[in-house]
């Protein structure tokens, strides 16, 4: 009995060890690239079938092989889009979210092959090609997402310099308070420059500014450029410089964050658009059979 119990415990320990080990494995390397191999097998089989099967009158979505590829592609797209549902459900089981994500990435990539072969390389200005192009865009943004998730978090951390986001904002507020009192002796025009700098939204610049890191209408920079030299201005300038540097850190964080997140703003809406286009594609093909 005891031996059996210890056996179970040992087994349990082993299981937990495996789980703990796997906790530190990237979703890309999950289970020794299991899903990469599966995706490669799917792509290879699709290509081999395309080459070997005599499709009459010519290869496209209308042959039996074309229908097969199309059905596989449609099924994959629906399943891949369900990652959004799966990740919101916290449940145990064989299909860990990591496994699911790994499959999502690799099977998503194999869709390039399956989808392209389904088109039979016939491209035009129509709903069918729209669906194909949307699929490629979704995959491309997904690839971008995987790359930035692997590379950018390190620079995000480096940019923080041991400050939290809240502290970055606090630091800016602290500077702003001092700036307000320091600017008291200034003339009207210069005071207006300071007011403009203080009033400008910290997150001014929009998505494009965030992504490029370029803020041509930054009021702090303008105030610095236009501030005259003088005893009273000296301190204001010093504070404005500190404000500019603090903003630069915040904007650095914004840029990295934007580069990390922007793909989802294309990936998700285009996925939904893709499902709509696929619906139109499938229905129209059989409507005008």
């Amino acid at each position: 009995m005891a031996a059996k119990a210890s056996g179970v415990a040992k087994n349990r320990f082993k299981q937990d060890e495996t789980r703990r080990d796997s906790d530190h494995v990237s979703f890309l390397k999950h289970r020794g690239f299991r899903w990469l191999w599966i995706a490669l097998a799917l792509s290879g089989t699709s290509i081999a079938g395309y080459m070997l099967i005599d499709q009459q009158p010519r290869p496209n979505g209308g042959t039996w092989y074309g229908y097969t590829l199309g059905t596989i592609g449609l099924g994959l797209i629906i399943w891949l889009s369900l990652l959004g549902v799966r990740k919101r459900r916290i449940n145990p089981g064989a299909w860990s979210l990591k496994a699911w994500t790994s499959a999502h990435v690799y099977l998503g990539l194999s869709l390039v092959v399956v989808g392209t072969l389904h088109t039979g390389f016939q491209i035009g200005w129509n709903v069918h090609t729209l669906a194909y192009v949307l699929m490629l865009l979704v995959i491309a943004t997904g690839v971008y997402g995987v790359i930035v998730y692997a590379t950018l978090p390190a620079s995000l951390s480096a940019n923080r310099k041991e400050m939290t986001r809240a502290q970055m904002l606090d630091a800016l507020t602290a500077i702003d308070r001092q700036l307000e009192s320091a600017a008291q002796p200034l003339s009207r025009a210069e005071a207006d420059l300071v007011i403009a700098a203080l009033e400008q939204d910290t997150f001014h610049g929009g998505a494009l500014g965030r992504l490029t890191g370029s803020y041509p209408r930054c009021a702090t920079a303008r105030a610095l450029r236009s501030m005259a030299q003088g005893a009273a201005e000296e301190r204001v300038i010093a504070l404005l410089e500190r404000r500019r540097d603090q903003l630069a850190q915040i904007r650095g964080a914004l840029r990295i964050r934007a580069l990390l997140e922007v793909w989802l703003f294309i990936h998700i809406p285009l996925t939904i658009a893709l499902i709509a286009a696929l619906t139109a594609h499938v229905i129209s093909v059989f409507y005008y059979w």
Binding site: A174, S181, F203, A253, I272, T279, V285, Y288, W289
Partner: protein
């Protein structure tokens, strides 16, 4: 060194109370304890929390006195430096201590209570890109709705609500369905370009594949390759994938692999329908006899390797109603009813040649084209007319008239009889001199005609139709209903009725290279060249093209829908030429028809 300490408070009414005091010290302590230089009554602050010291270079060094740090310019530290010229801010609990250099050189410390950070979490949201872009959900809705509306709902609705119209073969009716151009999977073929904007002309009903009936509504003249059940029986079995696809498709009402659209695939770009490939034909005809055991057709898969001997149509017996087909291997004997030795006429040194040289209309020995003229389609030859081709030498002149010569009409024995009797209708010469009596109008009178039986005409007709007579130079004498007659002339309009031979394409060859007319002594020789002679130049599609060898697809001589037509890369629609409707009986040939009806 003096510190100017300015405390800013607010009354309950919101009025600002400012208290200033000056502390003449080099260091300051800040904390909750009452003895501190700056006393902050805030539980979050330590009893003695921070000490600020004036350094030699004029900067202020702040350090935590306990283990708890303090906020310096927004950052949490345990020690730090403040340059009073640029200023700095220390945060302790809710208090904010702003350090600045006054004009008199003193360092001012302004203490105010920070407003509680409501909405700070909201501010943090600004870091997310979502704050600068429309929401993913909104974008998804917009895209999906636009696509489903424009590319699905509108075409479907306008298709369902249209008023169906009958197709016009010219394809000039505009389409009624809106935005269905986005559904096309490719341009239509060249011949269907005018239907480009009228999808519903072919896609008539929703979720119904294009039906043969719709195709035939314009292409009425298209013939069937064979009857549908025979086509189905002759087809080789489909691959498992194709079989499954057809099984499913036919379950949903698509016409089978023998429907129009399975070969005439549309939306493959602005191209022309390609001629059927050799492989396409060979699919069925390679081993057709194994599936259609009763077929008369020989197997064929490659003109150079396997193709049955030609089976021309010809009249196998005199006066037959219909031509028959037989393989050239059986050495068919043609019973056209004519006597015509080709060799005599084609001998450049013979009598016929001499005669032709002497005649202005020829001026040279006879050539094939003197009698045989191509039809406009360059496939067959026009009917040889006796009046045009023979009469130059084989004259039927019967006498002299005021304007020239009279001649016997050709083509109808009754006409001949009439012409002959006219010759003998003049005053009959007296057999012996007779004396004329008064009052009697003599036989020599110019007013007398011979109304008696045309005995002489009968004799003349009988002579003409008998062996050795003028008619039997070319025609075979016979008797019908007890009377002398001529054998009807039977020649088919076309010998190779199941294929297409373009004489124009062979005009560099001499006629006699293929048709052995120059050595043919009798009209019973069927001068259609055989398979072997064609293979001198024509081999199958896979043959290597050389100066002499022409790789030949089936479609070079055969068409799918109209056996005697041919696919041609240019020309007006239809691109195959429908065969002439088959004539039956004596109407088969016009010469024969005339003679067949001739009843003297």
């Amino acid at each position: 060194m003096a510190f100017l300490i300015r405390t800013i408070d607010f009354t309950a009414a919101g009025r600002e109370i400012i208290r200033d005091r000056v502390v003449e010290q080099e260091t300051l302590t800040i904390g909750r304890a009452a003895e501190c230089d700056i006393h902050l009554p805030d539980l979050a602050v330590e009893q003695r929390h921070v000490r600020v010291e004036l350094a030699a270079d004029g900067t202020l060094a702040a350090m935590a006195l306990g283990t708890l740090g303090f906020g310096l310019d927004g950052r949490s530290v345990t020690q730090g430096t403040i340059d009073p010229r640029t200023g700095g801010e220390i945060a302790l609990g809710a208090a904010r201590l702003a350090f600045a250099r006054e004009a008199d050189g003193a360092t001012s410390i302004t203490i105010r209570q920070a407003v509680a950070d409501e909405g700070k979490g909201d501010a943090l949201r600004g870091f997310a890109l979502a704050s600068a872009l429309p929401s993913k959900r909104a974008m998804s809705w917009v895209f999906a709705t636009a696509i489903l509306l424009l590319l699905l709902a509108i075409p479907v609705a306008s298709h369902l609500m249209r008023t169906p119209v009958k197709n016009d073969p010219k394809g000039e009716t505009p389409g009624q369905v809106v935005l269905d151009a986005a559904w096309t999977s490719g341009d239509l073929s060249l011949k269907h370009q005018s239907l480009q904007d009228n999808c519903e002309s072919c896609h008539v009903a929703a979720f119904e594949s294009v039906q043969d009936e719709t195709c035939v509504s314009c292409h009425e003249e298209t013939g069937n390759h064979a009857k549908m059940p025979r086509l189905a029986a002759g087809m080789p079995p489909l691959s498992p994938g194709d079989a499954l696809q057809w099984q499913i498709a036919q379950g949903f009402g698509k016409e089978g692999p023998l429907g129009c659209v399975s070969c005439h695939a549309e939306h493959e770009g602005p191209v022309r329908q390609k001629p059927a490939s050799e492989a396409f034909c060979a699919d069925c005809h390679d081993t057709l006899d194994t599936r259609l055991t009763d077929t008369a057709l020989g197997n064929a898969h490659d003109f150079g390797k396997e193709h049955p001997q030609f089976r021309p149509a010809y009249f196998a017996s005199f006066g037959a109603a219909k031509p028959v087909r037989a393989s050239l291997d059986t050495k068919p004997v043609e019973r056209s009813g004519l006597i015509f030795p080709h060799d005599v006429h084609m001998n450049a040194r013979g009598g016929a040649a001499r005669m032709a040289v002497s005649l202005s209309q020829y001026g040279a020995p006879l050539e094939c084209k003197d009698c045989h003229a191509l039809t406009p389609d360059k496939v067959g030859f026009k009917e040889v007319k006796m009046e045009d081709s023979c009469e130059g030498c084989h004259s039927l002149v019967s006498g002299r008239t005021i304007s020239g010569f009279s001649k016997l009409r050709h083509g109808d024995v009754q006409d001949l009889a009439a012409d002959l009797s006219r010759i003998s209708s003049g005053p009959r010469p007296a057999l012996a001199p007779r004396r004329a009596r008064p009052g009697q109008i003599g036989s020599a009178s110019p007013y007398r005609a011979d109304f008696g039986r045309p005995v002489r005409a009968y004799i003349g007709l009988s002579n003409a139709l008998s062996p050795g007579g003028i008619c039997t130079e070319c025609h075979l004498p016979t008797r019908s209903k007890g009377q002398a007659d001529l054998m009807p002339v039977n020649l088919p309009d076309r010998f190779l009725t199941r294929s297409f031979f373009d004489h124009e394409a062979h005009k560099k060859e001499k006629c006699t290279d293929c048709h052995a007319a120059d050595t043919s002594k009798v009209a019973t020789d069927l001068l259609i060249p055989d398979l072997k002679s064609c293979r001198d130049c024509h081999l199958g599609a896979t043959a290597v093209k050389t100066k002499k060898i022409v790789p030949s697809e089936c479609a070079m001589c055969h068409a799918y829908h109209v056996p005697a037509g041919q696919w041609s890369p240019k020309g007006n629609a239809p691109h195959y030429k429908p065969a002439l409707p088959p004539k039956s009986g004596p109407d088969k040939t016009t010469v024969a028809a005339i003679f067949g009806r001739a009843k003297p």
